[in-house]
């Protein structure tokens, strides 16, 4: 019987009422009296040396408040990178400066050169057109392998080359790895591209900043997943402002997907300009600006080799990846191809020897950083594609080959630095086989063939490391931040509760799911609990929402704070009931004395806490507690996905007929929200697999610079999904036993789609063993006819 409230109930998303009735409050809805508008003049060439910038004509244009160039920011810091990666020789990564406005050179199309602040946006834009910029165009650095060669043009003149780092994880002894491969009965090799993506949240980025001369305080409203992180980075590393004088607010945010984690130059610019102009300053990105200034995702070129013994056991895995970082280091860009990617190369399998090699490159393209999944989709795609290819080469069932090599004993130490605490990969695969109706596939294939279509079934597994992570460990790995989170549970006199959380909800449903937990712990109605987030002046210092961490990390802090509240409330109840604290029990919102009929209600205790006439002298009045929570380990959601496609052999068009996800997320608070998260993730995964592709031409011009050429998935591109999360092995180290579900769909789905397409083509007698994503009609047709 499904529950109708508390943990495990599919409570309706309360935030949707305001979103669906137009009552949301997004950053662009915020307008401050007297505000001026910013227009950024952005480079239209990919690589060039700035010879001169003449702003004199622009400055005298109507409505112009001030024109800024890189010169105005010579005295402040640049955009910082939050993770220092150490290369395989022990040297720190090359870390070039990232100025707010270009200094000396422009390094990608969209790099901001100047900014005009004016009374209206149109005036700012008119003035920007009057800025005379003389740029000497330089050869653009685009191809990663060519960029690594001696003598290649340099993106950053002060660096020795375009290589940010050469990184390695796993077995460091090349001879040992070579020996494994030379002794192997079979080696499968695959070269593949993980296509560059543009996150494209529905809401473009916006920043509104104001400065008060009276109090010397700043307020920045911004489209962020983590307002405290933005405040810390901007204050400490960029503008040199005292944190206590700066308030950062991320109100309703219309989708993030990772690209709103990062601290962007436009945020720092608006904050700086609000004081410099002594006026509130507003910037709203156009969709075109989003395409050329939001951090992009993926963009790996990899070679992966899998070694198997004569019994088809995996004995070795080796990868060589070129990872594109773009022109500058975005906030967490350096960690994505390394600690969020290399560590996942073991997947769900007990491969004893693994060596991961990653060469991260600077190119004249938009910076690349975390996008839903962040490194883990790139790892999963390589691994699950090469396993599928190996199964086909060996003529064995791809599911059986996976099952044979599954990790079955937990905890399990991988050769790539992780310890999986728990999982049941065979159990999850059993759920998939049933939910996806593998048994009925031959009949469905026959039916498709009767209509002249090729049908394929693709299966893959995934594992991800979420709930990032113990601060002491990530610190050793180069993170320049802690990765705990925080919650304050403030009980009001009348018993209602405000929970101030460091996590930020921008689609995840925290406002609904988090109260379910607190309600369950106390035994009161969910409607008595409100979640407060997104404002550094209201919430404790938290690290925000990304990496499927909100419930596992911030939710744990909330549980700890609620436990403290309950412990204190029990003291008050014991006093009121004239009983020993140890005998007090809390159930259904009533404190009772064990073994008696004496009780006092939650509301009476909370009122007493704030009207402490009859109160234990040794206890402080009030009922409010804060907890910080630093996890002991990552969490490891895992799953198995199945995709069935039809391919039109005449046109190469791929349609997804069925998609089934079996996930193990541990315990689940709100199954409906989890379904929604999985649906959204799969939608984005299908987008990557079939449609989305960010393409630059040989001069560094972005060809896919609008929705006319960048194909976002639409409702009719995706099927009705079957989602099964009944396979549950609770996380062993957080109080709720939860693992996180936000990225799973985007991680697990691309290989399932591509595996299914290959299966379909081979069933039709086509000798195709790989097609790079997006598996567009033209690419499928070309592969079939090559």
């Amino acid at each position: 019987m499904p529950k109708d409230s508390g943990i495990g109930a599919s409570s309706k998303r309360r935030e949707d009422v305001r979103f669906l009735t137009g009552a949301g409050n997004y950053t662009d809805d915020i307008n401050i009296r007297g505000q001026a508008y910013v227009y950024f003049l952005r480079s239209d060439i990919a690589h060039g040396r700035i010879k001169s910038i003449d702003t004199s004509a622009a400055e005298s244009m109507p409505g112009v408040v001030r024109v800024f160039t890189g010169k105005d920011f010579e005295g402040v810091g640049g955009m910082p990178c939050g993770w220092e990666v150490t290369d395989k020789h022990g040297a720190p990564m090359q870390e070039p400066p990232h100025p707010i406005l270009a200094q000396g050179k422009v390094r990608h199309v969209g790099d901001p050169i100047a900014a005009v602040v004016a009374d209206s946006l149109e005036q700012a834009r008119d003035a920007a057109e009057a800025i005379d910029v003389d740029i000497e165009e330089l050869p653009a650095v685009l191809d990663m392998k060519a960029a690594a060669e001696e003598g290649a043009p340099l993106v950053h003149d002060d660096l020795k080359n375009n290589i940010c780092y050469d990184w390695q994880l796993g077995e460091a002894d090349d001879d040992k790895v070579n020996e494994v491969f030379s002794n192997a009965a079979h080696v499968t090799t695959l070269e593949l591209v993980n296509n560059r993506l543009v996150a494209n949240p529905m809401e473009p980025r916006v920043a509104v900043a104001e400065y008060s001369r009276g109090t010397d305080e700043y307020t920045l409203y911004t489209t962020s997943q983590n307002p405290h992180v933005i405040r810390l980075l901007m204050c400490a590393f960029v503008l040199g402002l005292p944190e206590h004088k700066v308030r950062v607010v991320a109100p309703d945010v219309g989708g993030g997907f990772g690209t709103k984690i990062f601290h962007y130059a436009e945020e720092a610019f608006c904050t700086f300009a609000a004081k410099a102009c002594n006026r509130p300053v507003k910037w709203t990105a156009s969709r075109s600006e989003a395409f050329m200034s939001d951090a992009q995702g993926r963009d790996h070129v990899s070679k992966i080799e899998l070694a198997l013994d004569a019994d088809n056991n995996f004995v070795g895995l080796r990868t060589h990846t070129y990872a594109n970082l773009g022109a500058y280091l975005s906030t967490f860009s350096s960690s994505v191809p390394t600690w969020l990617h290399g560590t996942l190369m073991a997947g769900n399998y007990k491969t004893p020897v693994i060596q991961v090699n990653v060469r991260a490159m600077f190119t004249n393209t938009v910076p690349v950083d975390a996008y839903r999944g962040a490194g883990r989709p790139e790892a999963t795609y390589q691994l699950e594609r090469v396993i599928d290819k190996a199964a086909r080469e060996l003529g064995v069932d791809p599911v059986a080959l996976r099952r044979q090599n599954f990790i079955t004993q937990f905890p399990y130490d991988t050769p790539v630095a992780l310890t999986y605490d728990t999982g049941d990969y065979n159990g999850t695969m059993d759920k998939l086989e049933q939910a996806a109706d593998f048994a009925g596939f031959p009949a469905r294939r026959a039916e498709s063939e009767a209509r002249g279509k090729l049908r394929g079934l693709g299966v893959n597994c995934y594992i991800e490391a979420c709930g990032i992570a113990p601060s002491n460990i990530v610190g050793m790995l180069g993170a320049r931040a802690g990765l705990y989170d925080a919650a304050t549970v403030r009980v009001n006199a009348t018993g209602s509760i405000s929970v101030m959380v460091g996590a930020h909800s921008h689609g995840q449903g925290h406002e609904t799911a988090f109260p379910q937990v607190v309600a369950d712990m106390i035994g009161i109605d969910e409607s008595m609990i409100e979640i407060v987030h997104g404002d550094t002046s209201k919430i404790p210092f938290g690290m925000g929402t990304y990496g499927s961490r909100s419930l596992a990390v911030c939710g744990s802090a909330m549980v700890k704070a609620t436990e403290k509240v309950i412990a204190k409330a029990k003291k008050i109840a014991a006093h009121l009931l004239e009983a020993s604290e140890a005998d007090i029990e809390l159930k259904d919102g009533q404190f009772t004395v064990a073994g008696t009929d004496k009780s006092v209600a939650w509301g009476d205790v909370t009122l007493t806490a704030y009207v402490p006439h009859n109160f234990p002298l040794e206890v402080e009045p009030g009922l409010e507690e804060t907890a910080f929570y630093d996890p002991a380990n990552f969490t490891f959601p895992a799953g198995a996905y199945a995709c069935e496609v039809e391919v039109d052999p005449e046109t190469g068009q791929v349609t997804i007929e069925r998609f089934t996800a079996a996930d193990d997320f541990g315990n689940i608070i709100n199954p409906m929200i989890v379904d929604g998260q999985v649906h959204g993730g799969i939608g984005q995964g299908i987008g990557q697999a079939l449609l989305e592709n960010c393409v630059y031409d040989e001069n560094g011009q972005l060809l896919s610079a609008s929705f006319m050429d960048y194909a976002m998935p639409r409702a009719d591109d995706v099927p009705f999904y079957t989602v099964d999360h009944s396979s549950q092995t609770p996380c062993t180290h957080n109080p709720l036993g939860v693992k996180g579900c936000g990225e799973a769909g985007a991680i697990g789905s691309p290989p399932a789609v591509v595996n299914a397409v290959i299966d379909a083509l081979q069933s039709g007698g086509k000798a195709v063993d790989h097609i790079d994503m997006p598996v567009s009609p033209s690419r499928v047709w070309a592969a079939m006819n090559s």
């Binding site: 046109t651 068009q653 449609l691 592709n693 006319m708 050429d709 960048y710 194909a711 033209s778 047709w781």
Partner: protein
């Protein structure tokens, strides 16, 4: 967007007069022009709206049985009003863009713009329709003169389009995955005196008639009659959504499907 003068005439004569002004531009449904102006890629001094002229709107059947569609008639109206009279044309109009585009965009605007991937040019050329202007009547075969180029003179306004109604017709559109314009669209119409095949989306010269296919189908109206025919990939568009060869291939596939749909 730059500032501009806006004129909203209520007669064709007033519109023609307004368009004689310096740097004046006619505005149909604005589905191409307005986004272009917002991006500051177009900056007419005066916009002359054709949306307030009653005689440019609506659908009627002429004495000879042909269908006349007013130039300012929206795609949604065409889709609704010719559904019984010319189903293939209604189907085409009903699948342009999305509902917002279909309720603003007009047939005259589409034809005046002549985007090489637009749908309407295929219907007009494939039907052998006539483009009627304030000054003359232009046969479809003379009207389309390459990408974004037409026979319209400066200041000349399309007033209506007259479609002869074929015995059977079909529009087969293969979608460009991002824009959902036609990567290749084939409009095939079968008349008593022969078959017409018009192709949009594919060629660097804009919409064109595939005359070899027409000849083959005039001999034998079945898909297999086209099996040995292929358009020359040389003149096809090649871009990130499909190579020249792929588009050439799709012209064949879509034409065969159009034939199949007419049988």
């Amino acid at each position: 967007m730059y500032n501009f003068e806006f004129k909203n005439p209520s007669t064709i004569a007033d519109a023609v007069a307004a368009l004689a002004g310096e740097d004046a531009q006619a505005l149909g449904g604005g589905q191409t022009l307005i986004p272009t102006m917002k991006q500051r890629l177009a900056s007419p001094a005066t916009l002359v709206s054709l949306g307030g002229i009653p005689e440019l709107k609506g659908v009627c059947v002429e004495d000879d049985g042909s269908i006349a569609i007013g130039a300012a008639t929206t795609h949604a109206t065409v889709a609704r009003e010719v559904a019984d009279k010319y189903p293939a044309l209604a189907d085409l109009a009903g699948h342009i863009g999305d509902p917002a585009v279909r309720n603003r965009g007009t047939i005259g605007g589409s034809l005046a713009n002549n985007d090489p991937a637009a749908c309407y040019p295929a219907a007009v050329l494939g039907s052998g329709a006539a483009v009627v202007t304030n000054a003359r009547q232009i046969p479809a075969d003379d009207y389309f003169q390459g990408m974004f180029t037409t026979a319209l003179e400066e200041g000349e306004i399309i007033t209506s389009v007259r479609f002869p109604v074929p015995q059977a017709a079909s529009y087969q559109k293969f979608l460009q995955p991002a824009s959902r314009f036609a990567l290749v669209g084939v409009f095939l119409a079968r008349f008593a005196d022969g078959v017409r095949v018009a192709v949009t989306g594919a060629s660097e010269d804009g919409v064109f008639r595939w005359t070899e296919a027409e000849q083959a189908l005039n001999k034998e109206f079945r898909p297999d009659a086209l099996m040995d025919l292929r358009v020359n990939p040389m003149n096809m568009i090649g871009d990130l959504h499909g190579s020249k060869e792929y588009r050439a291939h799709l012209v064949g596939v879509m034409t065969r499907r159009a034939v199949q749909a007419c049988i």
